[in-house]
Each structure stands twice: as structure tokens, then as C-alpha cells.
Amino acid sequence: MSIDARRAGVPAQAREPARPAPLDPEVRVELFETMVLCRSYEEAILAAYHADKGPGFDIGKGLVPGEMHLSAGQEPVAAGVCAHLTVDDAVTATHRPHHLAVAHGVDLRRMTAEIFGRETGLGRGRGGHMHLFDPATHFSCSGIIAEGYPPALGQAFAFLRSGTDRVAVAVTGEGAANQGAFHESLNLAALWALPVVFVVEDNDWGISVRRSASTSVSSNAVRAAAYGIPGERIEDNDVEAVYAAAGRAVAHARSGRGPSLVEVRTLRMWGHFEGDAQGYRDDLDGIEHRDPITRYEQVLLDADLLDTETAAGIRERARERVADAVDFARESPLPDPSTATDYVFAEEASS
């Protein structure tokens, strides 16, 4: 089939979110478990990050050196989207990637080792927390705003050519939606009906600048319409609503109808990076009540799908898994400095 023939004949307008159907109880508990694992992971990285930063917070010191962008509050996006994926599907994340990696099934030990800069890490300590690449789960991320979108097109292109129904999920923040790469990618993916799900995490803040001060529209779902693809915006950081919208988008892509966009108004509970005092924020009062995990836990408790003991057990198992990963990373060897220039090029050509 030619590319032209595959063009998706979708209406050029934002799709209204449908009322989510009641979810299978097992799915609901799994969504909760995934979110808890994401949060446990971030809490463990947070603790490791602030260990040994010295008396005056030296960003380059300690177990985990460098910048650190944590995703607490954004777990509904990761859990709701990745629940529809297998490790054969691709996920391209942002500079704030951990929740998506955890939810997509990236090996926790090797990811943690990478964040700790160890030889056993995903990138043998060459990548760091913004540059995680896991071929086993087709997971990658980019430290550059919006620039993770174009490679996702190529993964989707390869999936399409291989005749499978695999999809590529490309995630950005709402600030990235003002970059050219975002718009070029939407156009090209729509033009060629590539199986891509564009996900926008709108956490209100591009570092310190509000969305309203940077973005000309109130919803990037309407921007999807400009490219003739479906767009949905989820307003309330509700994992079940994300799950429903992502389910529609993934099914749309898997069935050969091309890309769509899901924007989620989510919540950055912590700073842009660790060390960010957030003096610019006026939305922190009572933020703990907006924590999507405790909110969802209450929903499941009220529905008798969880009891406090089960919920505590889920949290404990998550902590154990994360602790195991942290122990693995901590005990792993650091890279030999004499190998610092290795891996610039592949050692063997295939010819």
C-alpha cells in the first residue's frame, strides 16, 4: 500500500473525551500498583540523590550526580498509557522519564545503575538519567524538549513496514508543544498515517513559566485537529480517564488509522529539578490533597477493590522491588575511567 493510500481520513477536529466505561477491577488495581511503583521509585531516587551532596548542595557530588528531574504527580500518565503497551511497543520519553520507564517495564536494576552512573547500567554509565535507552523494551528518552518526537516517527515507520501492529508512544511536556519538532512530527505522522500516539504531559509549568504564559491555546488537543488527527485532553489527572483515552489512541494506531494525541493535565508535585526552590509557584498550597495516588487509593477503597492492608502490601512490595534495584546499583562497579572514550562508534561493521 502506498503512503498516500494510508492517509487517515479522520475529522479535523478535537475529539470529545468519551465517558470512560467502568473498568475491570483487576485493571484498576493494576493501575494503582503501577502508580505506586513509579512513586516508590522516585522516592528512592530522591533519597539517593540528596545523599552526600555535601554541606552546601554540590550538584555534581554524591551517589547520583548531575541534574535530577522527578515525576511525582505525573504517574497517571505513565500508568494509564503504558497499560495498553507491551515491550514490543516503543516509548520515547522526556527529560523527566522515570515514571514512563517504570510503567513500560524497563529493568529497574539496570535503570537505577545507569542513574547511579554504573557500568551495569542501561548505558554503562554513559547516558545518565535523561538518556535512558533500553532496546529490550524499545524505551528511549531525550533531554531536548520535543526532539524525542521525530525518532518515534521512525520507530513507528519501521513497525508499519514490518507488517506488525506495534505502536510508538511519544511523550513531551506541554512546553515542548511550542517547538517546531512537535509540529513537524504531528504533520508527518498524520500525512503518512504512522502508528504513533503523541502524549502531552501538561503539568502547568515549563520550568518556571506557566502554560498560559507560553502557549497560545488552552489545549494541545486543538492543535491535533490542525493536523487532521484526533486529539483529547484529560483535565483531571485521573488515571482511569487517561487509561480510557490512551486505549482509544493506541487502538486507533494499532488498527492502521494513524496517529492521535492525548494531552493530560497532570501535576508536577516537586520542583522542575531537585534543588529547585519553586519560589515562582503559587499553586503549592494543599498540593498534597491533589496527589493522584492517594486520591485513587481512596477511590479503590470506596469501591471495595482495596482494603488498607492490601494497599499497604502493594506499597511494601513496590518498596522492596525498588530497594533491590538501588542495592544492585549501589553495589555495581563504576565504569573504568580509562574506557571513557569507548562506544562512540560501533566496534564492528556488519558488512
Binding site: 554503562r124 518526537y149 525518532p151 518515534a152 521512525g154 513496514r161 519538532a181 508527518l188 560501533a346 564492528e348
Partner: protein
């Protein structure tokens, strides 16, 4: 001592652009994962003849016209390469790298390293470079030194038809990102002043030129001219002229900037004791300085005379013909530099 790996057999006289297409044709027939992507590469056949006839032969599934969206389609090539395909992606003019540089140097070139060698990006970025036909400051640059400066991508720059075929074949088969820079002035285009060396014998069938091996284009004993691309042709013309004065010039065609064949540079300069570097890219912080440093880092005593550089001075390429020729490294400047180092 040409080290081109050529199987004994037949050859044809081809222009550089047709030799490039020959390599693409053979590799696309050999490997179904190879495809070509870019602006006007389909029915047009490539603005500089890089894909002429490929669409008719392989169809729109493998020879793909893109929107004018370099960031998106170069990134698409990266993602496809990561998933096991072998894209050749054309950036119409090297001058346009600014609109998509992030995909090139932060993604294409770094993913293998950042992944600790676990992810390969077997992709070719083909791009046209060079001036000499009054196309102005935004369409005449070489910029191969910029690609070569940024780590993680190989950079090849063929000067002649046989190398155009052999290097393209090698680039497609390489598991690394390879930037393949073709100078418009060597392509043998019907609408541009033709250099006589832009049409030459090209081996039929498989022809691979290893990436990273320079070629002695003309052996000589008095002075080494290290150069690449169109400037090889100019240097050979100058060598022919000087030969009538009894001056024996060796011309070394680098063919590849990354990896750079430093041994070939050192070997030639060891024999001649004199070095002129000719590079159409900007002079400062570029290829010419790197070549000189290759010698002086090893042993400044190899030089019996100070090295000379003939490059584009640090100025945007002018439009008016006379101004453009004044800054490009052409025959007159090359000859002066060679005669100068022979005064010592």
C-alpha cells in the same frame, strides 16, 4: 597506493551522481531494509541527481519524498535505524543543518554512546555541499568540518565517481551514522560547469571503499597537498601545471574526515617534508588546522617549511562571481601556496 578494494572486472564511465545512484541501486537490491528519504528525491530524482531513476526502480515505498521538515524526517530516519532499518536520508543542502542540527548531533550521533553501545544507528545522512556557482551564503557552504567536529558520526567526502560509489556502499553497510557529503561541483551535473574529473571509470558490481582510508591521488616527492572533494581536482590541475616547472606535487585525497587517516598524512609528509592543506570549508577551527596539527603533534621536525593552509577565509560565501572566486580555494591560491612552501 590506492587501497580501494576493487574486484577485477568491468567498469563504466559514470558521472559522480550516477555512481552514487549505482551504489544505492545495488544496496537497495541487496538489502530490503535500505530506503531513501528526503525532499524531491522521488520523481525529481534529487536536486543534485542523487536519486535519479530510483523511484521508477523501487517505487514510492522505498524512495520517499518528504515534507520540508528536516527535523521530523531526519529523526524518522534515526528511529527507523534504531529499529533495524538502514535509511539513507538526504539533507538537500549542508547549509540547512541548522534547522535540524539537534536530531543530527544530539540524537543520531549520540544514541550509540549514551546507550553504552547497546543501540546502533545504522543511518546515512547524505548532503550536498560547496559553492562556486553564485548560490550565495546560505547555499554554498561545505560545513563538513562541523559534522566532523561533533563526535559520533563518521564523515565521508568523495571526490570522484568511483569513490562516490564505494563510499556510499560502505556508508550504507556501516553500523554507525555516516554523513556522506557530496560537493555539487564533482557531481557532473548537466547544468553546472563540469570538472573533467567528474566523469570517470566506475567498477561494475560490488565496490566498497573502506571508510577512513585516504587515497594518494597523485604521487609526488616535493610537497604534499592534503585535500578533499572538489579541491582534489583543483590540486591535481595545479600539480599538472607545476610539473612543467619540474615541481613534483603529491596530492592526498582524504576521502574521510571521520575517521581521519592520520597515518596517510604523516606518511606523505614524512616523504616530502612540505605540507599544503586545501579545504573549501572555513579556515578557523576546522579541517585544515586539524591536518596541520596531525603533523605537528607527531613531530614538527617532519616539516622543512611552515605548513600553509588554503581554505575559505572566515567570511560567508559571497554571491557575486568575482567575490566568490576570491574566497574559494581555487587554482591560483593553491599554486601560490605550493610555490611558497618550496621557497624554504
Amino acid at each position: 597506493m590506492s587501497i580501494t578494494e576493487t574486484r577485477p572486472g568491468t567498469s563504466r564511465r559514470l558521472t559522480t551522481s550516477k555512481a552514487m545512484v549505482a551504489a544505492l541501486t545495488e544496496e537497495m537490491e541487496r538489502d530490503p531494509s535500505v530506503f531513501y528519504l528526503g525532499e524531491d528525491v522521488g520523481a525529481y530524482g534529487g536536486i543534485f541527481g542523487s536519486t535519479t531513476g530510483l523511484l521508477e526502480r523501487f517505487g514510492p515505498e522505498r524512495v520517499i519524498d518528504t515534507p520540508i521538515s528536516e527535523t521530523a524526517f531526519i529523526g524518522l530516519g534515526i528511529g527507523a535505524a534504531v529499529e533495524g532499518m538502514r535509511p539513507v536520508v538526504e539533507l538537500m543542502f549542508a547549509d540547512f543543518l541548522g534547522v535540524c542540527l539537534d536530531q543530527i548531533y544530539n540524537h543520531m550521533a549520540k544514541i550509540h554512546f549514551e546507550s553504552g553501545g547497546h543501540v546502533r544507528v545504522p543511518m546515512v545522512l547524505a548532503t550536498a555541499a560547496g559553492g562556486g556557482y553564485s548560490d550565495g551564503a546560505q547555499h554554498s557552504q561545505c560545513l563538513w568540518g562541523t559534522f566532523a567536529h561533533l563526535p559520533g558520526m563518521k564523515v565521508v567526502v568523495p571526490s570522484n565517481p568511483a569513490d562516490a560509489k564505494g563510499l556510499m556502499t560502505a556508508a550504507i553497510r556501516d553500523d554507525n551514522p555516516v554523513v556522506y557529503v557530496f560537493h555539487k561541483g564533482v557531481m557532473g551535473l548537466p547544468w553546472m560547469a563540469k570538472n573533467p574529473r567528474s566523469t570517470d571509470e566506475v567498477p561494475d558490481g560490488e565496490h566498497v571503499v573502506p571508510i577512513g582510508k585516504a587515497r594518494i591521488a597523485r604521487a609526488g616527492t616535493d610537497v604534499t597537498v592534503v585535500t578533499l572533494s572538489l579541491s582534489v581536482h583543483h590540486a591535481l590541475d595545479v600539480a599538472d601545471t607545476l610539473a612543467t616547472d619540474g615541481i613534483d606535487v603529491e596530492v592526498l585525497d582524504l576521502r574521510s574526515l571521520v575517521p581521519l587517516d592520520r597515518e596517510a598524512i604523516l606518511g606523505s609528509v614524512s616523504r616530502t617534508g612540505r605540507l599544503v592543506v586545501v579545504d573549501e570549508d572555513y579556515q578557523s577551527f576546522g579541517v585544515s588546522g586539524e591536518v596541520v596539527a596531525t603533523v605537528t603533534d607527531q613531530d614538527p621536525g617532519l616539516l622543512r617549511a611552515p605548513a600553509r593552509r588554503v581554505a575559505t577565509p572566515d567570511v560567508p560565501i559571497p554571491y557575486a562571481h568575482g567575490l566568490e572566486y576570491a574566497v574559494l580555494p581555487r587554482h591560483d591560491r593553491i599554486e601560490r601556496a605550493v610555490r611558497d612552501v618550496l621557497q624554504w
